[in-house]
């Protein structure tokens, strides 16, 4: 995974959750962030789509177990 993808994802999470102190690792999921509710979910997905110019489907979303899976998926899609 590219370092800049990881950094960008970090920035997007900080913006969506409005929490500058947020630190992600590959195993982070919605269980680890208190403000991660269903609406922030949607905002997160749309922000990622917009930033990377990608279209994310429900099938893609359901295939991710953690932030690491999400970043790997972005790396694969942006390299296509």
């Amino acid at each position: 995974m590219k370092e800049d993808t990881w950094q960008t994802i970090n920035k997007i999470f900080i913006e969506v959750f409005q929490d500058e102190s947020l630190i992600l690792d590959r195993t982070t999921s919605s269980n680890d962030i208190e403000r991660w509710d269903s609406l922030n979910n949607m905002h997160l997905v749309v922000a990622i789509e917009k930033h990377f110019n990608l279209r994310i489907t429900l099938k893609d979303i359901k295939s991710w177990e953690n932030v690491g899976d999400l970043c790997d998926w972005i790396s694969r899609e942006t390299e296509k």
Partner: protein, 360 residues
């Protein structure tokens, strides 16, 4: 010069009229197939109309104008069009000028003298530049005395809100609306796992699912009143009211009673994603036959939802009372179509279905 096609304002079951928000070309501009021609605002969304063919565009109205649904809003010609007209001979002499259709309407409505405009081809933009006191002057924040002796800040209601008021008034202004409520014991949500598993905590898919099944036995709640007739819908299309940060829109889940809980859950997610992407289509937000509005995330304990146009009932979902471990669902009905006893029975059965089909 031949007209290749007509661009028609799309029909909507919520609106009689729509608003022309913005032209994306000028009259006589060359356009290509699939070019976006104009934006139309309905009570629920903004729709972009595209050109189905290559050609030259002629707009039939002007920006900011309300038009009937089904009206021809633009033509696509095979070559640049010219139309010579005489407008207000006393002001504009006998000199003939080529005037766009939109400009022609504007000139007539505002009685504008175009004789001093030194152009052979006049478009709407030329006139708005010439006549700054046009209908497009922004009157926001204008302070003026109202009926009260107190001064107020008057802000015009946006078009979408006006249309929403009209649509809601058509049912609710009859004064024959009642709302009934019932408590439902809180239930556990089965989570699917994965990255977003902890966010999987909304009752909405379950309520929509159970409501759609139950409506099969309550056809009067899936109907509407019109002209002393009760019209019963054959399909059960549940509209889910969404109001996040781009105004209220009702996303329609078609054939809802034939879908599984999982399909309804996915459909609601798709609707919210489309809302946030601002990509809801006219099909997404029309032809719902019953509405569910969920304000649970705002912590409200009870509210009275308003029945939508061409419907007889709406269900409201309130927040969980974490002390008593229950939440309220409220059903507003149109008494011209049904009655309180039916509403009470529906709510009772819905509560029963939710509590017996899911773990408390």
């Amino acid at each position: 010069m031949t007209v290749l096609c007509e661009i028609i304002s799309p029909k909507s079951d919520l609106d009689d009229e729509v608003l022309i928000q913005n032209f994306l070309f000028s009259d006589n501009d060359k356009v290509k197939k699939n070019d976006e021609l104009l934006e139309i605002e309905t009570s629920k969304t903004v729709i972009v109309l595209e050109s189905p063919v290559d050609g030259f565009v002629e707009y039939k109205f002007k920006e900011g104008q309300s038009i009937k649904v089904g009206a021809i809003v633009a033509l696509i010609h095979d070559s640049p069009f010219e139309r010579k007209i005489e407008i207000n001979q006393s002001k504009n002499h006998s000199e003939s000028k080529v005037i766009s259709s939109a400009a022609e309407v504007y000139i007539k409505e505002n009685d504008i003298d175009i004789s001093h405009i030194d152009k052979k081809f006049i478009t709407l933009k030329d006139l708005i530049k010439e006549e700054p006191k046009s209908v497009f002057v922004n009157k926001h924040d204008e302070i003026k005395p109202q009926l009260s002796s107190l001064k107020t800040i008057s802000k015009p209601i946006e078009y979408a809100k006006k249309a929403e008021i009209r649509a809601l008034s058509s049912v609710n202004a009859a004064g024959l609306i009642s709302t009934f409520s019932i408590y439902v014991d809180a239930i556990k949500i089965d989570k699917e796992g994965g990255l977003f598993s902890n966010t999987d905590n909304s009752y909405l898919p379950i309520i929509v699912h159970e409501t759609s099944k139950l409506l099969e036995n309550f056809p009067e709640l899936n109907s509407y009143y019109y002209n002393e007739n009760i019209n019963q819908y054959l399909d059960i299309n549940i509209g889910v009211a969404l109001d996040i940060d781009d105004g209220l829109k009702v996303y329609n889940i078609r054939g809802c009673n034939n879908l599984s809980l999982s399909e309804i859950k996915d459909s609601i997610s798709e609707g919210v994603y489309s809302y946030l992407r601002k990509s809801l289509t006219i099909e997404d937000i029309t032809e719902s036959t019953f509405t569910v509005t969920d304000l649970s995330q705002y912590g409200v304990s009870h509210f009275v939802p308003l029945v939508n146009n061409m419907q007889s009932a709406i269900l409201g979902v309130s927040a969980i009372d974490t002390v008593l471990n229950r939440f309220t669902i409220s059903l507003s009905i149109d008494h011209r179509v049904t009655e309180g006893k039916v509403a009470a029975k529906f709510l009772s059965e819905l509560s029963e279905r939710i509590n017996s089909n899911y773990t408390i």
